[in-house]
């Protein structure tokens, strides 16, 4: 390799830990404490908890494999961002950031590992959802309560995955931006909801509200056939609620003094 000019010398051996290893470590950190394990179990339980709701509350014809699946993801999508938030804020509240950033000084790579780790968990819970939905539909068929379709709309799984990735990334972004667990969690739930409430109340905001309210725009991901207009709204709302916090959060993470 040729020497790189105008940069301070570097110690390149042994090589830096590959990103896949950083992701594996981040995932391990989410499951190797009792609190982390309970959090994951809790999220898994919310997926199962919606099965009886669908079984006993929805019309027989509506009880399709897809509706069981959507039901399983309701609680998951609510709690996934908390997982993302805690993956960042716990580094500061438990002060493990000291070890993390002395072992991996490139903070951006730690951030990337946390985002990818969160995406893995989101995918994992989608897989749990598929299993739960299938078991729910089988139970429904056995009890004679479910009469809906066995074949879910093809884009449902893709939409769910995207939804999961987005909300877990929003959690990571909020965690970085506020660097404080309770503050980040409260604001994550409060800010978009405030916007959802404010939108219909103020006449002038009603138009823009449809473009910036993630509660509304993201919901279309679960519907069959997302239109171009809906994609545009999703992108706009995410620019505000995901990209901006992510950018400012990453800047804060890069600059913050680790104590």
């Amino acid at each position: 390799m040729t020497a790189v000019h105008d940069r301070p010398a570097a110690l390149l051996e042994p090589a830096r830990p590959p990103l896949a290893r950083l992701v594996a470590v981040e995932l391990r950190k989410m499951v190797d404490t009792r609190a982390g394990r309970w959090m994951l179990v809790l999220i898994g339980l919310t997926a199962v908890a919606m099965v009886p709701v669908v079984l006993f509350a929805e019309d027989k014809d509506e009880q399709s494999l897809g509706s069981f699946f959507i039901g399983s993801q309701t609680g998951v999508n609510l709690l996934l961002p908390v997982l993302g938030i805690l993956s960042v804020t716990s580094e500061w509240s438990q002060r493990t950031a000291l070890a993390t950033f002395t072992l991996v000084p490139e903070r951006g790579r730690v951030l990337a590992a946390k985002l990818l780790g969160g995406a893995c968990l989101a995918a994992g819970f989608a897989a749990v959802g598929v299993v739960v939905a299938f078991l729910g539909r089988v139970t429904g068929a056995t009890l004679g309560r479910s009469g809906g379709s066995w074949s879910p709309p093809p884009q449902l799984l893709g939409g769910t995955l995207l939804y999961g990735f987005v909300v877990v990334a929003m959690g990571v972004a909020y965690g970085m931006l506020f660097m404080n667990s309770p503050l980040a969690i409260v604001l994550y739930f409060l800010l978009p909801t405030l916007w959802s409430t404010l939108g219909p109340m103020v006449e002038k905001l009603e138009g823009p509200a449809g473009w910036f309210d993630t509660n509304k725009t993201l919901a279309t991901l679960m519907d069959p056939g997302v239109t171009l207009n809906e994609w545009a709204r999703i992108a706009t709302s995410l620019a505000v609620w995901l990209v901006l916090p992510l950018v400012f959060g990453a800047m804060r993470l890069a600059r913050r003094e680790v104590k």
Partner: protein
């Protein structure tokens, strides 16, 4: 090896660290000494790339810390033994570090054995550890990547005398095998026996540095007693000398006997005793060098009357 050049860190107008420079060579243990709040931890965080310096630079093994691709394999860092996730077991904490640095699966077990946490303590959660156990775990974590540099902030804190003795042996052995050790302490006796070199820091500045011999040979301490202590203190202050009070009414002045005698003569103060301060060794020196931080209020007032006193220290 570690090289620190003119490191300065300011928070607003307050300088936590001011123009600190020193060098730690392979095969040596450097004791980084100073009272609490002197700037030791801030300096160490700047060396490790966790705190951006206002100015100056630091290198570890010749490169800035953040330019080391896999730092855990070169430098073992323990900046705060309390900074561990309380929900993780001791073994898991080390296993995570071993996995991240690629040091090998067997390292966690080896290190637990080395620091005396093998067996049941390894399976316990860190939340239930005593401070001494956390220090052992932190030292083990620093050693996981088999580094050649160790940077330890107050590692003896919370260790019992036996633990301190054990750690001395471990660090001495590490340095004798060619490693570089930088360890801080606010208590001299914790590091006096193991360190080859000392860097003494007070109020963010290096007050003195060198080997034990160099530091003791440098400006002598002078023990002095006067008929009228207040008058002597006034004389010392106006001569720009630095001193501290002993419990028996004696003063220990930094510097030789001559300036003390001259100051007393100029002010017409009657001296009862004048001689070399001895016996206290480094402890004496350490207290004199860092005295300002632990000065009793009346003496600080005396110091405030003599603007030249601070300058005499540097």
């Amino acid at each position: 090896m570690i090289n620190v050049e003119h490191l300065t860190k300011r928070y607003g107008d307050v300088a936590a660290v001011e123009d600190v420079s020193f060098h730690c060579a392979p095969g040596t243990v450097t004791g980084f000494l100073g009272p609490n709040g002197a700037g030791k931890s801030t300096t160490m965080r700047m060396i490790c790339g966790l705190t951006p310096p206002t100015s100056g630079s630091a290198t570890v093994k010749g490169v800035p810390f953040r330019r080391i691709a896999n730092p855990g394999r070169h430098a073992g860092i323990l900046l705060d033994a309390a900074a561990q996730h309380p929900g993780r077991t001791g073994r898991e904490t080390l296993a995570l570090t071993a996995q991240l640095t690629g040091a090998g699966r067997q390292r966690a077990g080896e290190l637990l054995e080395l620091v005396g946490l093998a067996g049941r303590p390894a399976r316990r959660r860190v939340g239930g550890y005593s401070l001494g156990m956390r220090q052992r775990l932190g030292l083990a974590q620093a050693l996981v990547g088999d580094p050649s540099v160790l940077i330890l902030d107050e590692p003896a804190n919370g260790l019992d005398p036996e633990g301190i003795f054990w750690m001395r042996g471990l660090l001495r052995d590490f340095a004798d095998r060619g490693g570089t050790v930088l360890l801080s302490s606010h208590l001299l006796h914790e590091v006096e026996a193991v360190a080859d070199r000392f860097v003494v820091i007070a109020n963010g500045r290096v007050a003195a540095q060198g080997t034990k011999g160099e530091l003791l040979a440098a400006p002598d301490g002078t023990r002095v007693r006067a008929l009228d202590r207040a008058a002597l203190e006034a004389a010392l202050a106006s001569a720009g000398l630095r001193w501290r009070r002993e419990s028996d009414g004696e003063l220990v002045v930094r510097g030789g006997a001559e300036p003390v005698g001259r100051a007393a003569a100029a002010a017409g103060v009657v001296l009862l005793e004048l001689g070399r301060a001895g016996g206290g060794g480094l402890e004496e020196l350490f207290l004199t060098l860092t005295g300002a931080a632990s000065a009793p209020p009346d003496r600080t007032a005396a110091g405030a009357m003599a603007p030249g006193r601070e300058g005499a220290l540097r």
